[in-house]
Each structure stands twice: as C-alpha cells, then as structure tokens.
C-alpha cells in the first residue's frame, strides 16, 4: 500500500550526476527523510539525465518545480528541515546567475532551460526510466498503438516524410525516404536497426536518451518496423555504455511482458521483436554498412554502396538503420502529425535538435533547441558564455572528427543542416565543443586527425595512409619543423582523400584540417614561419614572459612554478628565467592580472616581443 505522496524528488541519475555524487546524496536524503518520519509521504525517484551536467548532482522537487543543484551530503539535513518540514524552499542550493545574487527557484526560469524546447528529451528528468508505467502515463506507446491499429504502412511513411524529419546521425538524410525505399523492397525478412554506437568524441545525446527514456527509442523502432515490414530489430549499443544497455534490456523485457513486442502486438496481427547487440569500440561502425558487418560478427568495414542497405543490408536483407535521436522523435510525429512537427525549425531543417554543449563553456550539458536558432543564442544565452569570463570565445567545433571549427565571425548563423555545412563544419550527431582563445587550432586539427588516423579501418589506402601523412605533417608543424608550402600540401592531400575514400569516415576526415586552415590560416603561418604558437599550447613553439608594468608581485606564479624558474621579490615585478622554463604554462594559468604573455620560441627580448604583439593587434584591428 502506498500512502499519500505529497512530494516527488526527481534526482538525476545520469552518468554525469552519478559521478558527481548522486548515490551518496540519495542515501543521505533517504536516511534523513526516514529520520524525520517523512519517508512515506516524500518519494525519491531516480531519473535519467536532466541535461544540466555542469551543476550536478541536481534534483527537481515536484509539485512545486523547485530546482536544486550541486547537492552535497552535508547540506541534506538542512535542506530537508527547511523545505520539507518548514515548507521554505532552501535558497542556498538554488541556481544563481553569475552576476546576480538572487536565487532562481524553478527550473523553467533558469536561462539554461528557458530557451529549450523538449521533444526528443520530452521525458528527461521526469520519469523513472526503469518504470514502464511512467512512460505510458506520459502518452507512451499511444503512437505505436495508433500506427499499428489505425495506420497503413503508406500512412506512416507519408506522415514521417511530410514532417521533414531528417536523420540525426550526421548526414541528415530524410527518414521518411529511407523507410519508403525499404518498404518497397520485397524480401522474406527485413530488419529495423538502431544505431546507438555513438562514437563522435564530444557527443553524448544518444547515451542520455537511451539512459533516460529507453522506451521512446523502442516505440520509434516498433513504428518504423511496421512501416518497412520488418519483424526483427537490433539495437547496436556501445559496450562502454553499461547503464544504457541495462535500461534498454529492462525496457525490452517489460515490453515483451506487456505484449508490445513479440507476436501479434496489440492484437494487430503485427509481429516484431528486438535484441541488443553490444558494439566493441570501433568508430567506423557508426557507418551503416560497417555496423551491419559488425552485427554479422565480422570486422566492421564499410562496403561500397549501391547496393544500399534498403535493398541489401544486414545478412543481405533489406534493412533500415536509424539513429537513437531520430527514433525518439518518431512517436510524437505520429501522435501529433507532420504539421505539428513542422511548426518548429526551418523549411528544410524541421523540428528540434539535441546538442551536447561542452568545452570551455559555463553551462556544460545537454540542450534541445528548435532548428534555426542562432548559434549565438546556444552559446551565450543557454550556455552562459565562456567558463572563464576573462577569456574570449574563439571557435565552436561541430560534427566531431568529420566536422569543422566555426569561428567567431560566423556565430550568428542559424543552426540548420544547410547553414552549418556552408561553414565547412557539419551538423553531425550534435556535439558542440566550445573553445576559448587559449586553444591552438593547429593542435586541435592534429587531435582530430590522430583520431581518424587511428580509427581508419584500413580498407582504402588514401584514408589509411593519407591521414597518417597529414598527421605527420601536422606533428611537424606543432613541433617546429613546419616548412613553406606545408599548408598547400595539406589542402591537396585533403582533396585527394575526400574524393577517393569509400565511406563517410575517409570522405570527411580532412574536414577539421580544411576548416581550421580556412579560418585560422594565420595560426598555421605563425607556427611555420615565426615558431610561435600564440595560445602557448605547442611547447616547442612558445616562451613565457612577465610584463613588468602589469605584474603586481603577488608571487602566485612563483609558488606554482614546478621548475623554480620564476624570480622576484614580494610586491616587485617578477621575471622568468628562460633557461629554466619548460613551457608548462602553469604561471600563465595562475596569473590573475594577465601579466604573463606568450612569445615565440626562444624569444629572449621582451621589448621585441612587445612590438610584435602591438603589430599583431594592429593587423587584426
């Protein structure tokens, strides 16, 4: 018998918050409620990822909608006493805007949440992902019931096509068209597949959806299976996502029990069943033909298309592979119709998109916004700008190793598939890594190339060898061995690799290099010509100097220097002994007054450097 519950405490149990301490806080909370005799009337619910990972562990109190953040075990007794005994929401744990002192009590007023529109993440932080009833209570499986009992295959496909929904995995291929191709293929067996092998470094939206709302993915698959006529389905998930695997498996089991998977679902005569297949960590398996080879138990190497998977896919049978986020959108589309879906977004990029906002940004987390929203709104209004307010925004990386870096001058573009591609980046799966002025763009492109060179499956020589050659060149540039003409050679090699590789990995691998050359060519040049990494990241290409007029003699840099390479009396300007300096940049990061400047490698003459810096300023200004 459940007593009268007067409050529900929705605690985030996403990976981020768990690592920040949810389990300990939950135990303390449970104990405190017990101690105060409140355990029967106040219920703790562990939900999936709330999205506001930066402030974790977070908790939402219903029915009031009060949002608490950065919970600690020590604060729990006070919180319980104030809020649940005395009825006074506890301000100390509420969100505050950095410049303002007032606490913001409810979630919807916090800027991070205010600009978001939740469709994919409609249930995030609201339901217990391990309880199917809670999903059903929020209209879960209504769309599946409608699709199975009232709609024909053609109806479903038409609705999805009309909605303009495009695959959220990266390339943005229209989902309805994919389904139509597969539905027209004739075969004794077809497969409905879900790609949960999220591999783009910097993206974690699929993980969150699978962990927070596994049923939304399954419902999308049931509808898709009906549309193409598939009776078997596979969800391919990374083995590195154990929580997602557990919750999906639990959801599948519950669906079988409830008759939503298996034979004759909801008495509609339709049969469909699902299983989970654990990926084994190969980035190239995000490519659809490679993923299918992997399910067949082989090396996950792509194969030429045609034949397209819609005709010959898994086990050579017609197959459709959709991304997790795409599938999570299907149920609302079917339930509310194509017109409803198109009310958000632009003509060619409809609906909403989830982004994983990370890097040097204040509000790290998961956000869902209407397509077409200016990039600036995401970074400054939702993201809260740079984490370190003194640093300037430099670039945002979109699309992972297949994408590119968008510079500050383009920050007002609307975020749609078309506009992002024009910048040289791609929408990708939705990772947005924000970088401030302390980032070296040459090193960044080297980082991505290391990734693709490592993950190249080796089938196509241009990709296998070409990326390696490019990586060697970039390593040379970052270590002071760059030569005139290197930039042009990199561009030529890029073009060759793009035009001669079989799959998306090779065709897009040079993108990070091309886009950084396009917008930050001066950085490449100063690395090559001046031996100068202005961000001070490439150790062999920088030197550190204290500008005497800015130094207050506080001694912070001196204490932090691992080499004892800084000398100076208290309250007197300090100086760096260049012979001892190892360019670890700890002084640069420590100095609160911006007195430490980065010069070219081996620079001993501060005066000359000062002039050089002035010149750079003039040119830029």
């Amino acid at each position: 018998m459940e007593g009268k519950i007067r409050a529900n405490l929705l605690m985030c149990a996403g990976t981020g918050c768990v690592a920040s301490g949810t389990p300990k806080v939950k135990a303390a909370l449970q104990e405190e409620l017990q101690k105060r005799g409140l355990a029967d009337e106040i219920k703790i619910v562990l939900t999936g990822c709330n999205g506001f990972c930066a402030e974790g562990p977070v908790m939402l109190v219903y029915p009031e909608g009060i949002f608490y953040q950065k919970l600690t075990v020590d604060e729990i007794p006070k919180l319980v006493e104030e809020h649940f005994l005395k009825g006074r929401p506890y301000e100390k744990l509420m969100f505050r805007e950095p410049e303002k002192k007032t606490a913001i009590p409810t979630m919807n007023e916090i800027p991070f949440f205010k600009h978001q529109v939740l469709r994919v993440l409609r249930n995030k932080g609201l339901i217990d992902p391990e309880n199917m009833d809670e999903y059903i209570a929020r209209d879960g499986y209504l769309a599946a019931a409608k699709a199975l009992t009232e709609m024909t295959q053609a109806d479903i496909i038409k609705t999805v096509k009309d909605s303009g929904l495009r695959g959220r995995g990266g390339a943005g291929f229209p989902t309805g068209m994919k389904w139509e191709f597969a539905s027209k293929s004739v075969a004794d067996q077809k497969y409905m597949l879900c790609n949960g092998d999220e591999g783009d470094p910097g993206a974690f939206m699929d993980r969150s959806v699978m962990e927070a709302d596994p049923h939304s993915v399954i419902e999308g698959m049931i509808i898709g299976a009906k549309a193409i006529g598939a009776s078997k389905g596979v969800i391919y998930v990374r083995a590195e996502y154990p929580l997602a695997v557990k919750r999906l498996q639990l959801a599948i089991d519950k669906c079988r029990e409830a008759g939503l998977l298996g034979e004759n679902i909801l008495d509609s005569g339709f049969t469909f069943d699902l299983e989970i297949y654990l990926g084994a960590g190969a980035f190239v398996c995000g490519e659809e033909t490679a993923l299918m080879r992997s399910i067949e138990g082989k090396r996950g190497m792509p194969r030429p298309r045609p034949p397209f998977p819609a005709h010959k896919g898994l086990w050579d049978k017609p197959s459709v592979l959709n991304n997790v986020e795409t599938l999570a959108q299907i149920a609302p589309v079917i339930l509310h119709g194509a017109e409803w879906y198109k009310t958000l977004g632009t003509e060619k990029s409809t609906g909403t998109k989830v982004f994983a906002l990370t890097g040097d940004i204040k509000n790290v987390g998961l956000v869902e916004v209407p397509m077409g929203i200016p990039l600036r709104t995401i970074i400054y209004d939702i993201g809260g700008g740079m984490k370190n307010k003194k640093k300037k925004f430099k670039s945002v990386q979109m699309g992972g190793p297949s994408g590119g870096c968008i510079p500050e001058i383009l920050i007002d573009i609307p975020v749609t598939y078309e506009d992002v591609v024009k910048t040289g980046a791609i929408m990708g799966s939705g990772g947005m890594v924000v970088m401030d002025e302390d980032t070296c763009m040459v090193s960044t492109s080297k980082f991505f190339l290391e990734f693709t060179a490592d993950e190249s499956c080796g089938k196509c020589t241009p990709c296998r060898v070409g990326t390696r050659v490019m990586l060697d060149m970039l390593t040379d540039i970052t270590e002071g061995r760059g030569k005139d003409g290197d930039i042009e050679t990199l561009q030529d090699l890029s073009r060759d690799i793009i035009s001669t590789s079989l799959c998306g990995l090779g065709q897009t691998a040079p993108n990070p290099v091309l886009s950084t050359i396009r917008y930050f060519r001066d950085e490449y040049e100063s690395h090559i010509k001046d031996n100068w990494c202005k961000a001070g990241i490439c150790r062999k290409l920088c030197s550190f100097h204290i500008f005497e007029d800015l130094c207050k003699g506080c001694g912070a840099c001196l204490r932090g220097c691992p080499q004892q390479a800084i000398a100076g009396e208290k309250k007197q300007p300090h100086r760096i002994i260049q012979e001892l300096c190892i360019q670890c940049r700890s002084c640069y990061d420590t100095c609160k007054f911006g007195a430490i400047k980065i010069g070219p490698a081996g620079c001993k003459d501060i005066k000359a450097m000062r002039e050089l810096l002035e010149k750079v300023k003039e040119v830029k200004g």
Binding site: G202, A239, L278, G279, D360
Partner: protein, 292 residues
Amino acid sequence: MGDDTKILVVDDEPIVIKSCTAVLKSEGYNVEGMLSGKDAILRMEQTPYDLVFTDLKMPEVDGITLIRWIKQKRPDTGIVIITGYPSQDTMKDALELGIIDYVPKPFTPAVLLDVTHRAVEWVKGKAPAEKKVPEEFPPAMIQEIDRVITQYKGKPGSSIPVLQRCQEIVGYLPPVVQKRIAKGLNMTPAEIHSIVSFYSFFTMKPRGDHNIRICLGTACYVKRVEEVLNKIKQDLKLEVGEVTEDRKFSLETVRCLGACGLAPVMVIDDETYGAMNPKKVPEILKEYAGKD
C-alpha cells in the same frame, strides 16, 4: 596418489564433511573438516593447507569472507567451492576472488575426485610466490568459456558477443583463449584474431588489478586531459597499454566515454572521476594502491 597433500573441508553440514573425508582419505589425501568458517580461520592461523574446499552459505563467517581471508593470509592455498547453485553471479564473484574450481552439490565420489586431482595438479604446478601470467587457466574458467561457447554456438554473428563474455571471464584474450573460441565456433584462429585486433574493446594483454582509462574525447582534449595523462604516466612510470611491474595498475586511453559534462574524465575500474587535473592524481591513485 594423494601423497602428502593437506586438504581442509569447510561446510556447516556434517554429512558433507563426513562423505568428503571418506572419499578423499581412500585416495590417500590428508583430510580434515571444519563446521564453520570461523573454525576454519582459527585452524588455518595455526597450520597451512594445500587445498580448501568450502561451502558458500554458512552462518557467521560465510564462504566468500573465508576465501578473502585465505587470499590475504594464505595466498598459496588453492580454493575449491562446494555449492548447490552454481549460478552465474556467484560464480563470477568467486572467479574474481581467484578460486580454482567448484563442486556442484549433490556430487558423486567420481566428480569430487576428478575435481580434487585437477585442483591438486594446479596448486602443485603453479609457481609459488611470483605472480606470473598464467598460460593455463583454472578449470573453472575454462568451463565458463566452454559454457559461453555452447550457448552461442550455431547462432550467426556470435563471435563478438562470445569474445566479449570470455574477456569478462578471463580479463583479456590471450592466444590460447582465442584458439579455444575459434575451435568452439568452427572458425579459424585467424578469423577470430582479425576480430580481436580490429575492435578496441578487446585486449590481448592482461590488465592490472586496477584499470585506468583516460578519455581522449574532444571535450576532454579541450580541457587539457593530456596533462592528467602525463602525470599518471610519470607517477606510475607507465606507458599507455602497459601494466605496472607489481600488476597493480594498467593504463588505457579511450575515445570519448560520453561523459563530456565532466571533462576531463578518468575512469578507474567502474568509478568515474570528473573535472580531473594533475593535482588530483596522486590522491586518487593512493586510494587504489592500498586496495586489492
């Protein structure tokens, strides 16, 4: 046959001790029995045994506690468990603690003797103090591998799941294990090896007691995870992909753990550490240095 091998049987049911003693004594083994884990510990503090047979479910000091004690205080003693329900979970726990084999209850004298002979061979054959990479695996481990193979046999596309499960059991996939899997699944060793070498999840080297994974995803990169990695390499004198000499730690890098909100991220075993910096490293490593 039994020569001077000393065996201790621990079970709270007298009948089990009685029957074991009768069977094993007839083969010439030197057998004693104890009715509780507590008594066994008291006895073992006095005198060493070559082999201990123990039940898992016992009042007060249970089997798992006893096994832990033996592993710590009498590491050279071989352990075999006697259990009524060799379920996967308890077997996994016990395997992780380093048992040699198990005897399912009820058992026939033939089964008991068979297990005992193999266990004695294992105990006598193994190099004593030195912790060497075993080229042979305890029979219980091999049985588990075979069980996984049988479960998946004949199912198309099962090579990857089988390799994943076997890696879970053994900890890594050395050539002997790959060969056994290849044979079991009617594939060539080359085919199995081509899969093992393609996917980064599979490893052919044993890991340390604690496996450190450093995320090299973009978000972690931007937050300079490299400095954390260098600090670990320096402190443990360890390169990526290697194991420390005392086999305490192994170090790996991974491509994005999907916990970008916490960047830079480090994972030790199953514990995630977010917002890492080089200064936090020594303290965290210290936590593990004392653990088994």
